[in-house]
Symmetry: C2
Subunit: 200 residues, 2 copies
Amino acid sequence: MPNYTVTPISVLIEQFERLPGIGSKSARRLAYHIMKLSKGEIEEFSSALRDIHLKVKYCKICSNFTDEDVCSICSDKSRSKLVICVVEEAKDALALERTQEFDGVYHVLHGAISPLSGIGPDDLTIKELLTRISSDSPKEIIMATNPDVEGEATAMYISKILKPFGIKVSRLAYGIPVGADIEYADEITLSRALRGRCEI
Amino acid sequence: MPNYTVTPISVLIEQFERLPGIGSKSARRLAYHIMKLSKGEIEEFSSALRDIHLKVKYCKICSNFTDEDVCSICSDKSRSKLVICVVEEAKDALALERTQEFDGVYHVLHGAISPLSGIGPDDLTIKELLTRISSDSPKEIIMATNPDVEGEATAMYISKILKPFGIKVSRLAYGIPVGADIEYADEITLSRALRGRCEI
């Protein structure tokens, strides 16, 4: 097939295909969309990508992504340094930010303990969390790791390490998602929702 | 919200959001995926985008995208120049190529006639098609524009212009898609499938 050879278009399609959740059909649609853009628009996109490795680094305090030495949340004086919310990934912190419910600070682990994938505690930013706790002496650590095996294990591991510090360690509540149908909720979620029921 | 300011990350998220079929959630997921890539991987992606406006141009013959003066299909001597398949977009030619059923050549209109969007015949590559027909005198023109109002109007318009040339002009068959359920097919498609029935 003559047009299956390597061309700038096929290279771009392949780049899109590597992204999570983008199949070969979407990759082709995206690449052909790019070809309809102006030179300036393509240049903006290309630079936005390049800027990621040129400008983005880890926050010295919380390990979140930032383009400064200290991220905008850690350097925000209106936010309480006494409550640290521990998340697996930077995008989890972003999701929590959107709730506008939390005015503490974050700590990004960049993963979860997963012996099957060969990820141990030393591959995460747990050491940085301990240093931070020793110096800032927060009142509460909220474990907001994912509600799956790895996230649970990570939350348990960290809460055990934190025992000697005598700090309150909490976990995000389990329950049925807002808008969901009880009929279709799985038993584990439902039993957790029952156990965690609150007075109204 | 401190982290809603313009940062390299928010710029990249916005770039992904502009792509067709990518919502704000997907855009965030893609941007955070990029941040986990190595410098080299990001550089490859960024260059692939840049190469599109640096290297890709229109084929002098069929107006398809190519990185040469003449595209790989038009310059392929094993393909018949006597049958020209007219498509709206380059991606439609790619879809037809994947069937491995067609060994003629293409003509890419880069759109369809749409008075509502202000796209007239002069905005398409119809003039180029006529020049091509005068010089190459093909035997058949297959109209493979989309089966919607604009695609139909474009097919009708071009077939009328081609009348004086005395060339056979055909249209892709309408019918029920392979694998579809007759029960759920719409009436127009079904009646077209009936009219176009073939002996078996």
